[in-house]
Symmetry: C2
Subunit: 433 residues, 2 copies
């Protein structure tokens, strides 16, 4: 065992940064057993040195100047847990130029600039690891790039945003509204003061871009992901889901058929028996389908101080093993394929559609005729009077698989039909056919 310590710098000392410090403190014995060196946090970058912190952190040297970390030659690895994109990218680039290995938990950064940063790390013979950027405590990056490396992956489907999963779980279980549950999630610290990135699906889309780039060895940018968030999900939608045997989840899907890719994030109905339908609260889970392995699923905490820090420090262990063997800097792989994305003509899906219609003779026939004209058939259909609306009724149906393009045409035509007041909502249905 080398007696030498490894000095690391922490960029950020928030929730995850504190978790990293805690794991390094409490698991030092098992960590140094694996890597033969003691880990020491030399310095941590914070916004305000004077902020009151937990007393066990008092030994940690703090700085408000990133240069104290980036330019310190004794620091061999930098852990980036400060978040943000542009400023952070500059720091990570400078760290790599200084030949420091980088571990990041930052999915925003990796989704936007991952490919460039990984190439730069490769050129600098530095490791750039980012296990913590997707699905916190679940080692899904490593599973895709190493555990299933021999397989051709065809589909990744997951719940990769804990905030929205918590919210949908509470909305479904207790028939509560979006606004009500959002407030609670903010109070509990599951949602940010500005919840946009989570509730509009952007956070999940970034993670799906990272996972699909890796799984399909094809570049996938955030712009390539079709995204719909959960703001418009109503208690009425959720009540009908329940009645029809479905659970609504914000699902990320990345799929590859015959060289063509589709990546999307949207609220999706799953049959209650589907493995992802039973992933509740802030938990994450990722289903991976491979040609050879079939279906596998990986489940765990998607966020939180210690779970995310576990992923960060496990990456640090990998960096240190590579240092021991002098083989850092191999994490980047040029994509094998160019990405071709499916058009809406080529994407097939079942849909849940909820309509407000005028409650009079001929309505039902007019609606069903329009479906027939578009060659869309039903798996399930309900017609009910609409509460507090004497003139209107509600038709709720689940279609058989059809192309997204046809469904969109159909939705426009439905909105124009005189028998229809409006299309109240529609969602994709997965795992039903």
């Amino acid at each position: 065992m080398e007696e030498r310590e490894i000095q690391v710098g922490l960029l950020g000392l928030g929730t995850v940064g504190t978790g990293v410090a805690s794991i390094i403190k409490h698991h030092q014995e098992t960590l140094s057993h694996q890597i033969g060196r003691k880990i020491v946090i030399k310095r941590a970058l914070v916004k305000d040195k004077k902020k009151v912190r937990e007393s066990w952190l008092s030994n940690l040297e703090l700085t408000e100047n990133a240069n104290d970390i980036i330019e310190d030659p004794s620091i061999e690895a930098v852990i980036e847990v400060m978040g943000g994109i542009e400023e952070t990218r500059l720091l990570v680039e400078r760290a790599l130029k200084e030949k420091k290995h980088v571990i990041t938990a930052n999915k925003d950064l990796m989704a936007e600039h991952g490919s460039t940063l990984l190439q730069m790390a490769n050129e600098q013979k530095c490791d750039l690891f980012y296990e913590a950027s997707v699905a916190g405590g679940i080692p899904i990056i490593r599973t895709i790039s190493e555990g299933l490396s021999a397989d051709k992956l065809t589909k990744i489907m997951g719940i990769v945003n804990g905030t929205t999963n918590y919210m949908l779980t509470k909305m479904s279980a207790n028939n509560r509204t979006f606004d009500d549950v959002l407030l609670e999630a903010q109070e509990l610290g599951y949602a940010e003061a500005d919840p946009t990135a989570d509730v509009d699906g952007i956070d999940a889309a970034r993670k799906m871009a990272i996972l699909s780039s890796l799984a399909f060895s094809s570049p996938v940018q955030i712009e390539d992901v079709s995204v719909k968030g959960i703001r418009q999900v109503s208690d009425v939608d959720l009540a009908f889901c329940q009645q029809l045997g479905y659970t609504m989840k914000l699902i990320g899907v990345a799929q590859k058929d015959e060289g063509q890719i589709e990546v999307r994030v949207e609220p999706t109905l799953l049959p209650n028996a589907h493995p992802l339908a039973n992933v509740h609260n802030e938990f994450n889970a990722v289903l991976v389908h491979g040609e050879a392995v079939g279906e596998t699923m990986f489940y765990g905490p998607g966020a939180g101080s210690l779970p995310t820090a576990t992923a960060v420090v496990s990456d640090l262990v990998a960096v240190m093993k590579n240092m021991q063997r002098r083989v850092n800097g191999y994490s980047y792989q040029t994509p094998l394929f160019q990405s071709t994305f499916k058009t809406e003509d080529e994407i097939q899906s079942q849909y849940f559609i909820r309509l407000h219609v005028y409650d009079r003779a001929g309505t039902f026939a007019a609606v069903t005729n329009l479906f027939a004209q578009h060659d869309v058939s039903f798996e399930k259909l309900l017609q009910l009077p609409l509460e507090n609306q004497t003139e209107l009724a509600e038709i709720v149906l689940v279609t058989h698989s059809s192309s997204v393009a046809i469904i969109k045409k159909l939705l426009i035509a439905l909105n124009q039909l005189s028998a229809v007041d409006k299309v109240a909502s529609y969602y994709r249905v997965e795992g039903g056919e």
Copy 2:
């Protein structure tokens, strides 16, 4: 990219061996993209060269003499998928002495001789990888040793034998007997002609020895695992499970509290909502608890030609990446801890107990008094008349947590009680308290 091929030798061309050949054939493009070299199976060891095989295997050079592989200097890695222990151990040792890397799917070999073989590989600067030996397509070895390397693992709990999970699923769903379902499993190829290793829990115990050695960095031998198989599980037991809201599974548990370890495999009752209760048929799943990460679960096919071969070939990719970087032979880690095992006094569990008692005044009081004397209390209790037995009744109960030693004393005392005909069955209950 190096233009050179890597030549590998296959020891065995059964179910898994054929899967390995298939993956190497069909995924060659993505494989060589990752490792910069083409994989060629130079030769495969078989028992009978003349046996009729699928036509796509006809290009493969076969031999009945292991020396043609072990002594061929052009073969750099050996894939052992022949099974068996002693003869195979000699071949693996000889391959390592010839400086060939070894990938094995053999849990029997690894449970019995893993520690010695891993040390030998380390001395020879060779890799010895064995991802496929536990839970087929689930990369659980890599997850424990790398993905969660920063954490202190406290508990591994899993369904790691597909045969018995298939059998218990069918027995539970259709109220069928052990013998009936075993016959079907044998016809479908899920169970061997001699099903002993599976149904008596030995296969699962070997896998738990492998997982717990790794997870706790402590040597665990097969003899250290307490094992009970599923032969004595009756349709009556399963019917009561159902009635009480439990699912019976053959569960492996490895647990470490304050330095003390318990490893066991036995049919166990789980509350229906428990994640492992919903793992059906031949699927495997492993729950991993870590101090920092909390609870994670990994689910997938536990056996089968292609899933297991995925793990084997992913290991081969890891070997080849290491070859590229010239860092083979680091897979062995000296255990950090000596193993101290819990005694039955120190192990706490809930129990399901089913009694046949004489249906007369005072019986119930005598039985419950005996429980009270042993300081064991109930969570649930049923008394029912016993079918086709006018003199006897059945008492079924679930205790609160108690030490295993006390429960065993209580079971002996119950058998001696004049009010009791016999203890018909008893099982541990997990995840209830």
